[in-house]
Subunit: 209 residues, 2 copies
């Protein structure tokens, strides 16, 4: 089967809109995060090598490498979301005619739900990282393309808030409450200042327009 | 030349990240808005026909039609942004060796800057519309996919905030201040309650998880 990243943008959107269960919000979150990382790279690529920005060039080379690594991770997460959702659906489809089958099905669901909690949590972390990188782009990037740093932060922020919803749903289904609460605490730490952070980076950009 | 919508998601991201001037934040904004509209459609498609949701089915059929129309508009805007940016770059490249050339170049830039203000403003309006549609999806959609309504609002909101930056940049370059101020006033009206509106729709979803 063709991976989503290899499908056209329009086909991705068609499939997102369709009654197919995947791709859904989890893949959309990863795509938004990847757009954020890509736009950080764009700002770097259009700043590096310009004499006017020689002073920040070394910083932006580091930023570019980080943004490109992060983009690769986020692109991988488009598929990771589809895969874990497919696994979860397969578990729900397991037979439950007797107690033995019910117990097996329930155990399988619990195993995959752990993964289905960790996948969007990893996406949320990557999006939070993309937000942090967009701040550097907003502070040091070429003023001629600084608006792209503002788009980067909004894309990454939307990806973070989106992934957070999927962490919350899947964690809610976990019977292992210790594991679930630990994951929700990690998420909480990521979300704590996300709203004000996004607003602040966006303002840095707006002030430079 | 292949339109962005017909390129793979990964190629789109590669080009976004590259030192090419387009696609940039304007196209990313349109893609985010289109993701928002697509996810509203997904919620509708996974609600319509379910006996449990028979009461809202008529409303969601209307919502689906609106979301699909809007998605088509937003997909068109991916290209519109690239096209107007290309036109603007062509104007800046016009010769300016003498006063006549300078006057011609300046007039051409001003003409295209009007369009370059209106294109992202139209994108901002479409994203604001996508936010409004996501509220209906959040309020009436199938609880099993309600998180997708939350992703929809965040995608549309990020698209709106992103497009707004491009309106602001291009309006700033306009000599016709009456036109510029009128466009900025339209933008201001769209942005007025956007932050609280996004937060509220997101909360509606979170409360249902």
């Amino acid at each position: 089967m063709t991976e989503i990243k290899d499908k056209s943008v329009e086909t991705f959107l068609d499939e997102l809109a369709s009654r197919q269960a995947t791709p859904g919000g989890g893949s959309a979150a990863a795509v938004m995060g990847a757009q954020g990382a890509a736009l950080v790279s764009m700002v770097c690529n259009l700043t590096i090598g310009k004499p006017k920005y020689a002073e920040v060039e070394a910083d932006l080379r580091v930023l570019l490498a980080e943004a490109e690594d992060l983009r690769a991770v986020l692109v991988g997460m488009i598929k990771a979301d589809v895969d874990v959702f497919g696994k979860l659906m397969a578990c729900y489809a397991l037979p439950k005619a007797n107690d033995e089958e019910k117990a097996h099905r329930s155990a399988q669901i619990q195993t995959v739900l752990r993964e289905a909690t960790e996948v969007p949590l990893a996406c949320a972390k990557a999006c939070a990282k993309a937000m942090a990188l967009s701040r550097v782009a907003a502070e040091k990037g070429n003023l001629g393309v600084i608006s792209d740093a503002g788009v980067a932060v909004m894309a990454a922020y939307a990806g973070l808030k989106s992934a957070a919803l999927n962490v919350a749903i899947n964690a809610a289904g976990l019977k292992d409450r210790e594991f679930a609460e630990a994951k929700l605490a990690e998420l909480q730490a990521l979300m704590q200042n996300a709203d004000s952070e996004a607003e602040e980076i966006y303002r840095i950009v707006k002030a430079k327009l």
